[in-house]
Symmetry: C2
Subunit: 388 residues, 2 copies
Amino acid sequence: MQNFTFWNPTKIIFGTDTIPQIGQETRRFGNKALLVYGKSSIKKSGIYDMVLASFQEAGIEVIEHAGVKSNPVLSHVNAGIALVKQKQIGVIVAVGGGSVIDESKAIAVGAQTDHDVWDYYLGVREVEAALPVLAVLTIAATGSEMNLVSVVTNEETQQKFNLRSPFIFPKVSILDPTVTFSVPRTYSAYGAVDAISHTIEGYFNGSDPWTPIQDRYVEGLILSIMESAERILENAEDYQGRATMMWAATLALNGLPVAGIGAMRSPNHLIAHSLGAMYDIAHGAALSIVIPGWMTYASRKAPRKFAQFAQRIFNIQEESPEKQAEKGIAALKAWFYKIGAPVSLAEGNIPEEDIERIAENTQSLARKWNVTDEYTQKTVAHILTLCR
Amino acid sequence: MQNFTFWNPTKIIFGTDTIPQIGQETRRFGNKALLVYGKSSIKKSGIYDMVLASFQEAGIEVIEHAGVKSNPVLSHVNAGIALVKQKQIGVIVAVGGGSVIDESKAIAVGAQTDHDVWDYYLGVREVEAALPVLAVLTIAATGSEMNLVSVVTNEETQQKFNLRSPFIFPKVSILDPTVTFSVPRTYSAYGAVDAISHTIEGYFNGSDPWTPIQDRYVEGLILSIMESAERILENAEDYQGRATMMWAATLALNGLPVAGIGAMRSPNHLIAHSLGAMYDIAHGAALSIVIPGWMTYASRKAPRKFAQFAQRIFNIQEESPEKQAEKGIAALKAWFYKIGAPVSLAEGNIPEEDIERIAENTQSLARKWNVTDEYTQKTVAHILTLCR
């Protein structure tokens, strides 16, 4: 195990009929809230009314900031920041999925500074303050509800960059699995892929040779995500499946799976972020295309961990670790396919001719993440050919 | 999954050479600290000097409160409270194991009230404030370094009771695995038993039928604890073994393994606490005596989960769940024996004639925990006969 610091102060309120608590929880941080959400889906589902009623009961004034995109964009973040400053709002409440929470975190940072908020995503400035953010989660996927990360896309520069700061942990996140009953099949599948992707980045890319706790924690999450995804795809209103998926997705990226694994890299996200910035593709779909190709690339260099993955996730027994790894990757790809996630560039409507352009696009993030030693444009292009 | 609230704000600083951070971390909460510890072992090991040097550098005045017993007692807690009040101390730093941290939490509560601190352990009062507690952990076992629990023994009434309050989460806990190199074989083994015991209470005594995340999380911790215990018993200075044991013991009782499992009971601790209150026996030793007996009792009523345990921990395959459960319990008992933990009342020097008295002693805690429907004096006596 490597040295680490672990701190995660987000309070999780989990379960049925928990949304009416948002008012009283928000009231602890202020009496004028920016309500951030995406499209009208939260109105159809009744969540919007529930949240407003709870705010009213708690005596909270609400200013709305709707229209967050599924890959949140900088221009909309800046509009939110301007609104918060103009109306002197003290607390931000995200009602939605990872995109809405990520944008809320960005607004929370931007509202407390006179600098361009994009500077913090570029890494040229350090966050020193942020408004409190609370969340009502409506889709299980990104883990943003319990972590210090925010991902935003700068449409002008086609950069999808992330910001990490302890100031942006949500204070409180409310997770009611029943609100995810209405998440469509495709997005339920993408959420499962996204959650799995978060666990495997650290699992395969850590720098410590012996991490039995973290390995088993991740393996347990993956198995639970797979089991619950299958329950959900069979019956969208399976409470146990939805609840397990929601909690697993949160735990997949709350810092615990990677505590102690040492320096790590996130090559699948490196490539998937470029796909997200360049094409209008869901994050989970980008990942299900990239992961099997990247795993093939990486397992050829060092098959041991991929062999362990094959054995513990798919119960694949083989004498040769290479063979075992290969079968495990094929099994994961087959499972992605089975749940309806795309497993090739073609299935994601991404032209093969674009491979060089995509590889080129990854390089600015690769520089920010200091991974250009391995993930050169050439290597990324090679990995993308394995995703065809 | 059942509804739950999860909140754990303790900051963990984990790894080699981390103890010198205690001064600056403490300074965030005050400049006059009560240093709580047990015997002179922290002086021999050099930890004491390291802590004092760090305090000095951070400009913190230190008042010492030494002599914490391995089952911390109320009279010593009260002496600490008096000292804090007299000297107007603002922050408490525990340097030691679970007992030292538990006593520090008790002092932290008592220092902020004029009521008898034992009232909070009896459950007749609710904690409304506590001084900040920080910890430097010197033994992997109880999990107190990252939770809201404190266990104290009232010597006069022979009651070993626990207090739960969000006010007593340590603010910061420093975990340097190298300080546990000097923990003797027996206590290393007891620590492993204690950590395992914390995970299995929820695992076997939750109230939800489908908890795949929590099950696998616990199974992963148990396997990691067993692997690391074996490494440690082979080589006391095996860093990976010590680090894994230390982190696993912390994770075993930080609230996460039980989040979502619903109402639960802790029958093994119910009985072990009485052994601890009545005899001068280490907590881990009391548990290794009780657990196999309790498991036998409980698996006869409902073998399913015990069969899963046998399969996933010991890879035991059997057609009949009863047989599988039985073999799993025998395997755990054999493993306790192998690492040198007592597995019978006789091995713990507890006279068989005392069974009725022990069973009687459990009843006041059983009433406090509302488990007298099942854990009557008669049933506890029966379980104790299975521990012979």
